[in-house]
């Protein structure tokens, strides 16, 4: 009887009931895709066979828009390239334009830029930490992260009047000098913030469930990572020293002391560790910057009309919160860039998602996606 049943089942499997891939659409509306990323996931039971990211749901053609705007006007759009870390993109574009036109911002502006960008890195990493923990299922760190991020954003609002899209770092300097109470407030924030980092680590770092979920999951080997263009903290988790701040110093990063945070395992947990350590490093950079901030002008005198030299081009890179942020500008002697390309870290980091998740479980997609710190506006632009 049993044999008969078994044979029938076998026969059935061959003849009528062929097995098929279980295709699931994660997104574009999904609680864990950080925006409108769509993943077409082919599953075998719970196991992922293939992940295909589908981009473009947030494509706003910022590069085309920038070709039709003057250089200063473009900066307002760079805010929207990566709205979680708008200062970094502001800086990337401003530095590229300055290098294209041979301008130099005064020292106070440079220090202010560094303070702002590092504060932004803190804010971005805090949001990332919360979102990553949320993807894995812990909801409380998200609120803790936002609570501290709120204070950073208050500092930004005090300085430039906006909370998300700042338009603060301008060509040849910054928009406006910080208020006199900014420096003490910033120091007070750092004093308040430092013990909080330990709290996040207590909640997550050695939590056994967190370790289970992240250790050994989504391993990027250094070779694959470099070849696939992974950058920033995600690649540093694999032990590749790729910090643009160290490799190609801009602003005054060669004058401050900080360590490049490296981990070797290349899994989600390493990437988490790299970012948590970067938060500490950023705090130390911020303290040094605040110490060295000296009075002076906050912007250079710009020509009344900003024109790029004809047939000039520049590719300028900075280390944004998510990794390498490059801006490619081609000038044609007019007030508008002939070509403007944003090279965004998330774009390349999302590309490796397929390789990282094959053979893992569906829940690991969320862990890996979270650990790569991708932001959809940056991917789609």
């Amino acid at each position: 009887m049993t044999d008969l049943l078994l044979s029938q089942i076998k026969l059935g499997a061959e003849s009528q009931f062929g097995t098929d891939e279980y295709v699931v659409n994660l997104g574009p509306q999904h609680p864990a895709t950080h925006g409108v990323l769509r993943l077409i996931v082919k599953l075998d039971g719970e196991t992922v066979k293939e992940t295909t990211p589908v981009l473009g749901y947030l494509h706003r053609s910022i590069e085309k828009i920038c070709e039709n705007r003057t250089y200063p006007q473009c900066i307002t759009y760079t805010d929207r390239v990566d709205y979680v870390s708008a200062m970094s993109v502001n800086l990337a574009f401003a530095l590229a334009t300055e290098r294209l036109m041979g301008l130099e911002a005064p020292p106070r502006a440079q220090w202010l830029r560094m303070i702002m960008v590092e504060l932004q890195r803190l804010a971005s990493h805090l949001l990332w930490m919360g979102a990553f923990a949320g993807d894995i299922g812990a909801l409380t760190p998200f609120l803790y992260g936002l609570r501290e991020r709120e204070r950073i954003i208050d500092l930004f609002e005090m300085t430039c009047g906006q909370r998300l899209t700042y338009n603060y770092i301008r060509i040849g300097g910054v928009m406006i000098d910080v208020l006199p109470e900014f420096v003490p407030k910033c120091r007070a924030f750092l004093d308040y913030f430092e013990p909080k980092i330990a709290e996040y680590e207590e909640l997550l770092t050695y939590n056994p469930i967190f370790l289970e979920r992240t250790k050994g999951v989504g391993i990027i080997s250094p070779e694959v990572g470099i070849n696939a263009g992974v950058c920033g903290p995600s690649l540093r988790g694999s032990g590749v020293p790729c910090d643009v701040r160290k490799q190609q110093p801009y602003l005054y990063y060669d004058q401050v002391k900080f360590n490049e945070c490296l981990e070797t395992a290349g899994d989600c947990w390493s990437r988490y560790r790299v970012r948590m350590r970067e938060i500490r490093e950023s705090v130390s950079i911020l303290r040094q910057c605040l110490d060295r901030l000296e009075p002076g002008p906050f912007e250079t005198k710009l020509p009344p009309v900003l024109k790029a030299p004809p047939a000039s081009e520049i590719y300028s890179r900075i280390e944004s919160s998510r990794g390498e942020m490059g801006v490619y500008l081609v000038g044609d002697g007019t007030i508008k860039p002939w070509k403007c390309k944003f090279r965004c870290a998330s774009f390349n980091n999302t590309y490796v998602l397929d390789q990282l998740t094959r053979g893992w479980k569906i829940a690991d997609i969320m862990a890996v996606l979270g650990s790569l710190d991708m932001i959809v506006p940056e991917v789609d632009r």
């Binding site: 006007q73 307002t76 759009y77 609570r147 005090m158 300085t159 899209t165 900014f182 939590n207």
Partner: protein
């Protein structure tokens, strides 16, 4: 035996770290500290630099707008959302006649306010409740944007500003 030992060690280590995590949340639960602002009842004071709403400054004494329709704001705007016209008045100075700002495309970058050389446009921090029910009502004209500057916000004379800058420079911030 070693693996058995590490099995129990792992369990105890994991259990301990779970307790550490629980202690953090329990600490916050018991402290009952909250960071919430109950918005309509509690309103936070906004920083003076807040880019909340763009207003057209109206000079109550002279009974006219400060704007002279020089078009600098319209040129600076990345989205071309400012449309304005002006005529030459009886005193020989240009005055604005129509000023239209389409807030549905405005991104509050602040370039118009910065470009204005006549102290005619300004951000008003307090007016941040700007949502409307119809898209059309976001297209505001000079009457809707009219704003008389209160006395305490009047711009300081130039000497005072310079003295202040010098004093902050001395303080070293």
């Amino acid at each position: 035996m070693g693996s058995l030992l590490s099995y129990f060690k792992n369990i105890i280590f994991g259990f301990w770290n779970l307790l550490v995590g629980l202690s953090v949340t329990t600490k916050y639960f018991l402290s009952m500290k909250t960071n919430t602002q109950q918005y309509p009842e509690e309103k936070l004071p906004l920083p003076v630099r807040s880019r909340s709403m763009i207003k057209l400054i109206y000079d109550g004494e002279k009974d006219q707008f400060n704007c002279v329709a020089c078009m600098m704001c319209a040129k600076a705007c990345p989205n071309s959302c400012i449309k304005l016209e002006g005529v030459r008045g009886a005193d020989g100075k240009r005055r604005v006649t129509t000023f239209k700002l389409d807030f549905s495309t405005c991104i509050f970058c602040g370039y118009c306010v910065e470009a204005c050389g006549f102290d005619a446009l300004t951000f008003v921090a307090e007016e941040y409740e700007n949502s409307v029910y119809k898209r059309g009502s976001l297209l505001q004209d000079e009457q809707a944007m009219k704003w008389v500057r209160p006395a305490h916000l009047a711009p300081k004379p130039e000497e005072e500003v310079k003295a202040e800058a010098a004093s902050t420079a001395k303080a070293g911030v």
